[in-house]
């Protein structure tokens, strides 16, 4: 009998620890599929963040470094400079990348480090129990914004893709989601583009995935994906903000 669906070769046989409905598992799988299809699974080195995906290394079969909070792009810089023939990527959430690690992501992008960054933006700190993130929407209630995020008090949600797209060095900056089958297919294509650019030594590639957190949003996975489409996508519009090699049209 023909096997039509299997675990990507570069992933391990470890069950995900993520909450039911969480997008992390979906994005992990897409990463594994892309690396397999590009035949670089044995040349990949991942950098795990601090946050829900701190144990990302458990699910992949290749080498990994587990970095301090926000520092993954700096750690990845050190690894890639020593091992330029490897595919080095970070996988970071919004607290990690857009708050405590803002300097590291901006400067790794600005140096044009030949790494790939996968940025999971679900507008909240997951692992610490649902605190306000830099990407939390105005009016959104969290453990540390119980009356809703107040722009006068805490500013506005930060749009990292738009910000990084203003820099000269990055070759690919795109924002995707995995809330529908159509968007999921686009997300996979974006991830594959990002890794392909690194494989070809082109430069810094960045894929933001607008995601859900059913547990800390207090919603079922189905309702969370509806809320993502209605509330998050107007603030974080999907699309490609920079594609200096024209990979999307090639």
């Amino acid at each position: 009998m023909e096997q039509v669906f299997a675990r990507p070769k570069c992933m391990s046989k470890t069950p995900f620890h993520y909450c039911p409905g969480c997008d992390h598992g979906v994005v992990h799988r897409l990463v594994g599929e892309c690396l397999d299809e590009l035949e670089v699974g044995d040349k990949a080195i991942g950098v795990a963040p601090v946050g829900c995906s701190v144990f990302a290394y458990d699910y992949f079969a290749f080498d990994f470094n587990q970095a301090a909070h926000g520092r993954a792009p700096a750690v990845a810089t050190g690894i890639k400079r020593v091992r330029p023939d490897h595919i080095v990527f970070t996988y970071q959430g919004d607290g990690d990348l857009a708050a405590i690690g803002t300097a590291e992501i901006v400067h790794a992008a600005n140096r044009g480090e030949k790494i790939t960054v996968i940025f999971i933006n679900n507008a909240i700190y997951g692992m610490t129990g649902g605190q306000m993130a830099p990407t939390t929407l105005i009016g959104m209630k969290t453990a540390t914004s119980p009356y809703g995020r107040d722009a006068q008090l805490c500013g506005h949600p930060i749009r990292v893709s738009e910000l990084l797209a203003t820099l000269e060095a990055p070759v690919y900056v795109t924002r995707v989601a995995v809330n529908t089958p159509a968007n999921l297919m686009k997300a996979k294509k974006a991830l594959k583009n990002a890794f392909r650019l690194q494989k070809e030594g082109k430069g810094f590639s960045f894929v933001e995935v607008v995601s859900i957190c059913p547990t800390n949003w207090g919603k079922s996975p189905v309702d969370a994906h509806k809320w993502l489409a209605e509330k998050m996508l107007p603030v974080f519009p999907l699309g490609t903000y920079k594609d200096s090699t024209g990979i999307e049209n090639s």
């Binding site: 470094n65 587990q66 700096a74 690894i79 020593v82 091992r83 300097a103 140096r111």
Partner: protein, 361 residues
């Protein structure tokens, strides 16, 4: 035999690192260590190495963490306020048992302080300024020659024990020029460590992982005791094993009635003080810890049985003096003299202190 070259202390560290096989340097500008990154920015490209000026000390130490985990010999350097920023990364590097060399050309603190020489980072260096149960080896050169030699050794020690090694210097040693005989070059290959990420060396298990997280309390306890046992091995090696020669220097201590204790640049002033004391009939001696962690406690404990008193001299309000007191364990009085804030005590000042102690009337 090779000729000696005249070099600044900071430059000697840079060249010694290159000779040790270090091909990766990540740092951030700060005085008074600036000659070191400037030297390596020019030198590393000549040997196909990477010099990268990071956006912050925090980023620099995390680049070191990444490069070390990928199997490289790697270094960062800074001065006091910058080393404070690196402490988070040092804790991770120590926890993950990644080898690297960190240079602190110490300046006056706390806070921004000033750019003059000081020894007020002793506690931070020897106690571990970061969080958690960990230790870093701390080497304390007292000449430009030792800046080179100890940096060269630091890379070997880091690899041997899979541990960060600090070279604790100061603004004088960094800035002054002396003739140096450069150490022999090492051959180093990024694929010689079987545990490194991306290595081509034969591995023990399947894939390699560099991590510091142990959610299970029993596993973290096991890891911490594993680290502790490693630190005991290092302590033994310096106290009585293969590294004994790197632990401490003693001078005129056999018949000493007063033993002066100081490290780094202070030890050179103390040597002058001992000579002047001897000329004046005062039986003074000197203990100069070359390694601050592990601390040469046994040498001081043994001397406590022979001498009458100790005088610890530091460019701080008194930090190493606590380790001397722990070693002497109350058997003899331990006195302290210090200058701080970037001032350097003169031999005359110290001689006065010795006079007060040996001739109390």
């Amino acid at each position: 035999m090779a000729d000696k070259v005249l070099m600044k202390g900071n430059e000697a560290i840079g060249e010694a690192a290159v000779l040790a096989g270090c091909r990766y340097y990540f740092g951030y500008p700060i005085t008074p260590q600036s000659e070191l990154p400037a030297y390596l920015a020019r030198r590393l490209p000549e040997v196909e190495g990477v010099f990268l000026q990071a956006e912050s000390e925090i980023a620099a130490i995390n680049m070191v963490y990444g490069a070390a985990s990928a199997g490289a010999r790697v270094m960062t350097s800074s001065s006091s306020p910058g080393v404070s920023l690196k402490q988070e990364g040092i804790s991770y590097i120590a926890g993950a048992e990644m080898p690297c060399v960190i240079v602190n050309v110490v300046r006056g603190g706390p806070g921004l302080g000033n750019i003059s020489p000081a020894q007020s980072d002793y506690w931070q260096a020897t106690r571990g300024g970061g969080h958690g149960d960990y230790r870093t080896l701390v080497l304390a050169p007292n000449s430009v020659q030792e800046m080179a030699d100890m940096t060269r050794h630091a890379f070997e020690l880091a690899d041997r024990f899979r541990n960060p090694v600090l070279v604790l210097s100061d603004g004088i040693l960094g800035q002054m020029m002396e003739p140096v005989l450069l150490p022999e070059p090492a051959t180093y290959d990024i694929n010689q460590k079987p545990w490194a990420l991306g290595t081509t060396a034969p591995r023990k298990g399947g894939r390699n992982l560099c991590s510091t997280i142990f959610l299970d309390v029993e596993l973290l306890e096991e890891h911490n005791w594993h680290l502790y046992q490693k630190y005991q091995v290092i302590t033994d090696e310096f106290a009585k094993g293969s590294l004994k020669h790197m632990a401490v220097e003693t001078h005129e201590v056999e018949d000493a009635e007063i033993v002066l204790v100081g490290y780094g640049i202070i030890s050179r002033i103390l040597k002058t003080v001992v000579e002047k004391c001897r000329k004046r009939g005062i039986k003074a001696g000197l203990v100069r810890p070359k390694c601050l962690w592990p601390f040469p406690s046994q040498v001081l404990a043994d001397l406590a049985a022979k001498t009458k008193q100790f005088l610890v001299v530091e460019m701080s309000c008194g930090q190493m003096v606590e380790d001397v007191k722990l070693a002497v364990d109350g058997k003899k009085p331990v006195y302290f003299f210090g200058r701080t804030g970037g001032t350097v005590p003169s031999d005359f000042e110290i001689l006065n202190e010795v006079d007060k102690l040996v001739r109390p009337d």
